[in-house]
Symmetry: C2
Subunit: 135 residues, 2 copies
DNA sequence: CGGAATCCCAGGAGATACTG
DNA sequence: CAGTATCTCCTGGGATTCCG
């Protein structure tokens, strides 16, 4: 069994063994936790979209943040950007295989969230109530 | 009296529309994407820890961020905080059932990350190379 | 020991204006 | 249409100090 590609350059020493895998997971978690990226992935999972279509579908996103989010996703290889140099220009965004494969774990997380959101909100309200009571 | 930590920062009533579950998922995604929270959950999944133990095990975290992360997780009902008023005081953190249940989907995401990190890094390098070539 | 309070700064993110 | 550029405001987060 060869050394996995993703194990290269990772120091396994240190007090926390999880931190080794963590260094790999962190950037992914960072993108997943991004305010817009996963929403974009979910929207694109139902088919490719143009820039303006995405902007219209994602309420509240600024043009700048949509551009930056799409660039980040493209850089990570999660989607492709296809420019059609017509006038006016047309740009289509589409998930790659990698992007599609991310749907499953993200959906798992989403399902967990939906299943437990009631429990979480209750905990938050209890917490805030106690915090308020103490000033 | 203002709420100190970003406790109330989780807006559950944002303008997130098309998929109704999105507004439920967003705050959870926010916590999962947090730089330290999931690492804390993973460490605590092997048993409860004291504050200073966590600080020692999590390389690079500041005292402030550890405190804030733990408060956020406690507020969400993912862990419990137990104070033992000895001198010097002792505080233990332990996952709740809810916190333990979060491990599975987070691990799924972590596994995906580890499995595809090579692919992602390659995509990033291709992207950066092209970007550099164009200045 | 386990925080809370304060200071301070880099980076994130909105608004606006311009361009191929 | 699909961006870039710039400006500015705001927040996250490190460092430090003080407290029960």
């Amino acid at each position: 069994m060869p050394i996995p590609y993703d194990a290269r350059g990772v120091t396994l020493d240190g007090p926390c063994l999880q931190s080794a895998g963590c260094k790999n997971v962190a950037p992914v978690l960072n993108r997943v936790g991004d305010k817009w990226s996963m929403l974009i992935v979910m929207i694109l999972s139902s088919g490719p979209r143009r820039f303006s279509e995405l902007k219209r579908e994602i309420d509240g996103i600024s043009q700048r943040m949509l551009t930056l989010s799409l660039r980040g996703l493209e850089r990570d290889g999660l989607l492709t950007r296809t420019v059609t140099p017509t006038i006016p220009p047309r740009v289509d965004y589409e998930l790659t295989e990698l992007g599609i494969s991310l749907r499953a774990p993200v959906k798992a997380l989403g399902d967990w969230a939906i299943e437990h959101i009631g429990c979480i909100r209750a905990a938050q309200q209890r917490f805030d109530k106690v915090a308020d009571a103490r000033g």
